[in-house]
């Protein structure tokens, strides 16, 4: 844990230097976002390595052999630890967010031999995760729900068509900010459904969506949007001016708040490049 604390502190220091508004503890304790989900709900077993979407990055698939339940206090204890670190070292006005795997992705990435229906898995996971969120919400300022499968056309269509009900069950009683982050995919035909979900911030991968901005604009009026403008899958650096331009366009189209950041988590690039990109984000804010 000492090593994890050291790395988290270093990240928090970097985030403070760049005056980042929303930060996580870095999620260093877990192998990946699926591993993290399994610290919040019971995953029963973990199977062999599976490719994480189309990346050269692999996760151990949860194998569901019984009911999904909220796990014990482990996640809450760890989040408290990150909170205490955050409280000691953060930029003024910064908020701590907790990362979660969304229900559509969990149902798509797990292997189910209990429910025999992905929709049922998503509902059961949402229910269990909701309890975890209710436990943790006293410690964090926001939840970052990562759910790339929402826009993945290859995901179970029945599952995607029930996303609204599934999200109602996920966020019931959760009072802290809920940021829904999608990445790797951006299916224009699902944008209406997406922007109607019961969350506070709507996150889009603008690396995937750079040619779909006109289709997105009609939905952003009076919405808080998160634009994934820093590509976490390339070492090539973005330009401050391009990011500013994109953010301005969304503001001009009526978005009530525009947050910019990475398009997905940063395990896909070397740490040194991720740090440079965080600093670039600081420059965007100051520019």
């Amino acid at each position: 844990m000492a090593e994890i604390s050291r790395i988290s502190s270093r990240l928090l220091g970097l985030a403070k230097e760049a005056a980042i508004d929303y930060v996580t503890g870095g999620n260093f304790l877990w192998d990946d976002i699926v591993d993290m989900a399994c610290s919040q709900v019971t995953c029963h077993e973990r199977n062999g390595l599976m490719r994480f979407y189309e990346n050269n990055f692999y996760y151990r698939a949860p194998v569901l052999k019984g009911q999904l339940e909220t796990r014990d206090q482990e996640y809450l204890t760890l989040t408290r630890l990150f909170r205490s670190q955050f409280d000691k070292n953060h930029a003024e006005g910064a908020k701590l967010k907790s990362s979660l795997l969304g229900p559509i992705s969990f149902a798509s990435l797990s292997q189910d031999s209990y429910y025999n229906d992905r929709v049922e898995v998503a509902f059961a996971y949402s229910k269990a995760l909701n309890r975890s969120m209710l436990n943790v919400q006293e410690v964090v300022d926001a939840f970052e729900i990562q759910d790339p499968s929402i826009f993945d056309r290859r995901a179970d269509q029945k599952l995607r068509s029930r996303v609204s009900e599934i999200y109602q069950s996920l966020v019931g009683g959760v009072t802290k900010e809920k940021h829904l982050i999608t990445y790797f995919f951006l299916d224009s035909s699902s944008l209406k459904q997406f922007f109607d979900l019961p969350v506070d911030v709507f996150g889009l991968d603008m690396i995937e969506g750079r040619n779909k901005m006109r289709q997105i604009y009609p939905f952003v009026k009076e919405r808080r949007v998160y634009l994934g403008v820093l590509d976490s899958r390339t070492t090539k650096m973005e330009r401050v001016s391009s990011i500013k331009r994109m953010a301005s366009r969304f503001s001009a189209k009526g978005a009530s708040d525009v947050i910019v950041g990475f398009n997905s988590f940063t395990d896909f690039i070397p740490e040194i490049v991720a740090s440079r990109k965080v600093r670039l984000l600081g420059k965007v804010k100051k520019a």
Binding site: L49, N56, Y58, R60, K236, D267, V273
Partner: protein
Amino acid sequence: MNNGLPPLPTTVIGSYPRPKWLREVIRLRSLGRFNDEDLSEALNDSVQVVLRDHQVAGVDVPTDGEMRRDEMVEFFAERLGGFMFYGPVRVWGPNYYRKPSVVSKVRHGEPMLVDEFRYASSISYSPYLKVTITGPYTMADWSYNEYYKSKEELAHDLAKAMNSEMKALVESGAKIIQVDEPAIHTHREEVKWAVDVVNESIKGINVKVVLHVCYGDYSVIFPHLNEIQVDQVNLALKNYEYEPIKLLKRYKVEKEIGIGVIDVHTNRVETKEEVAKDLNRVIRYLDYLSPDKFWVNPDCGLKLRPRKVALEKLKSMVAGTSVLREKLKGGVEPSIGPTINR
């Protein structure tokens, strides 16, 4: 003329566990306690060990175990012009690799594999030593592109570079070259040009050329396999309980097929009976192909298994294949040369 290969030739995919002492030598070299000459000697010695293991197991077409390669993309990126490294990137859990960035035009300079091929062939027990090379699409997909306008443009330049390397190998006497393309089926929308890129990389390579594909959604690539100008495709099949053979039949893939009968993700050693039964099932199911079209191999490289396990798995693979060979006796002579004029 008989080429000496038995029916159902057995081979490996390429990588093999590095002996513990080699890993120690590499560590000590990184600390400056051994010099390049010591490391070179240890690498050569380890190739002898690997070939000995392959010989003991009875593998017909061995490799040098890729002893000199830490990782299949890193190795080539370190030697081609145009790449640089920023640092390690996670692949899964605590496992990282140095994913390279392309920062200028990719160039082929000195041959990358010729020395290792020459050394291995000089001590090989078999005249049919296979050389493995990472394919241009996988090189492009597993690198960051900071220079080219598109991944496709990068991949075409990589194809030219890999083609130069393969030509150098052929000139040095290589008779079997395996192009590793584990990423070729990861982006459905890119498969069509990925096929062109692989074909560009093997143009003019008139020895036996094998394509290795493993893990992932085979339905993306199988419809295009007949368009790829290789003689053989070897596949991870055991890990999928041979389900993908249905797709092979559906798309009537006419290539030689290397049947993956050993799961490289587990330490459980398959029995020879299991291997024989699996092979029998696959060959009977793919009845549109003549028996001389089948080769036998593990699903993928064995480098992540303990060496003892890797050796036992190879022994089982060969023993199981031998059982089936008895049934195929007579008239089944596998080809060692190219089946396509490239």
